[in-house]
């Protein structure tokens, strides 16, 4: 039914691994916004070079990144093709009914193709070089300013860490339940629509009951170990900024500077 890998982290010890996950996450998010600034061949060239630099700095095999792009390659091509036909303007090379290939359409299709690939590549750099736990800690840090708006950030942090912790456990549980139901004749990939929809409940209900029981047990365990809400607690896992984070900062400032200079205004 699915090939699932929990965690895409690949160990390594290049420069990028030594950076703080908060810095990496921030630069990744901002990089995607920086791509919005690109609007001519020169700026697209610049973001491509910067993205490839990040990819090379990881020191990982190209195959890792190809695996990131592969599941979406069909979608990327299809999207670019649709753009090609929908955008009109400039010199028309070929026309058939409402479909037309124009110079404007060609350039736009190429831009979209580049954007797609770059966004996937830079996100892959992030997830491959950072452990999920670190990414979650970085997200928690990024959410902190929201507490000004009375968003219960510490509660959210608790939910994040519980969800992160239980994804692998619950996934194993799901497979076990499915196998148990299969061994008694359940069939998840056959029959009509309603039959298939019905076949989901024998997986979901045990999973759901198991979740409820786990929640009750875990809360009892946490309370008996003295948990009384997130306030007034210390942190055991602490993130530390390092000198390497200056590199990613410089990288980003340079990128945005160059884009602002060379983009068509």
């Amino acid at each position: 039914m699915s090939k699932i890998i929990v965690g895409r982290y690949i160990p390594g010890n290049s420069l990028i691994y030594k950076m703080d996950p908060r810095g990496k996450l921030l630069v990744t998010i901002l990089f995607i916004f920086a791509i919005f600034l690109a609007n001519n061949p020169v700026t697209y060239g610049i973001v491509t070079v910067f993205c490839l630099m990040a990819v090379i700095v990881t020191g990982l095999n190209a195959k890792v990144f190809w695996n990131g792009v592969k599941p979406l390659i069909g979608l990327i091509f299809f999207t670019s093709l649709l753009q090609l036909f929908f955008m009109t303007g400039g010199h028309v090379f070929w026309q058939w009914g409402i479909f037309a290939i124009s110079s404007y359409g060609l350039i736009n299709a190429a831009y979209i193709f580049i954007r797609f690939t770059l966004i996937i590549l830079i996100s892959t750099v992030m997830t491959v070089t950072t452990m999920p736990l670190e990414i979650a800690d970085a997200m928690e840090w990024l959410l902190k300013p929201l507490s000004i708006f009375k968003v219960p950030v510490d509660k959210i942090a608790l939910v994040i860490s519980i969800a992160l912790r239980f994804v692998p456990t619950l996934f194993d549980e799901t497979l076990k339940i499915m196998n148990a139901q299969r061994s008694r004749g359940a069939d998840f990939n056959d029959g009509g629509l309603i039959k298939r929809a019905k076949a989901i409940t024998p997986i979901l209900v045990p999973l759901f009951i198991h979740s409820l029981e786990t929640a009750i047990d875990l809360s009892t365990a946490m309370e008996s170990r003295g948990y009384r809400g997130s306030e007034g607690r210390t942190k055991y896992r602490v993130l530390n900024w390092s000198k390497y984070d200056l590199i990613s900062l410089t990288y980003f400032v340079l990128l945005v500077g160059l884009l602002l200079i060379f983009r068509t205004h």
Binding site: F86, S123, F171
Partner: protein, 178 residues
Amino acid sequence: MKGDDHMNAKKVLRTDLQQLIFLGIIVAMKIILGQFSFGPATVKVGLGFIGSVLLGYFFGPLWGAIGGGISDLVSSAIFGNQGGFFIGFTLTAMVGPLIYALFLYNKPVKIWRIIASTVLVTLIVNIGMNTLWLHIMYNMNFNAALVQRLPKEVIVPWIQMVVIYFVLQAVSRVKIKK
């Protein structure tokens, strides 16, 4: 089905902490379900929407939306975000459970509620917001993005409604002995 039956699972969780942990586990469940899909190769239906329905059904609009947002963040952390980190998709993940909650939270399971919530989620979230994000992220022509997504969004909601009906029927029957 009796009117008070669907409250059972909720009554079992007495403390705030139990609720929060249950939220965390349901978020984990949503993430896992999102990795599964069923149906023939032509129309694959992902199961993540079941997680959204459960979030809305059990936790209401506010915490359902928060849970939806967290599910997007955590699944990005674990599986990487297909198509890249983008705050818009986190927003999308929040609005789905919110809409389901408005129709299903503390309400008896009724077919019209399921139909209305699914149609609204499809229109606002899948067709509206997600297309808008693709438009913003990739500078795609809005109509082209719409044409690409529309065929699937016309078929899938009907399948989702059937699944939601059976799932809510089953889940509201759950009684925990404690």
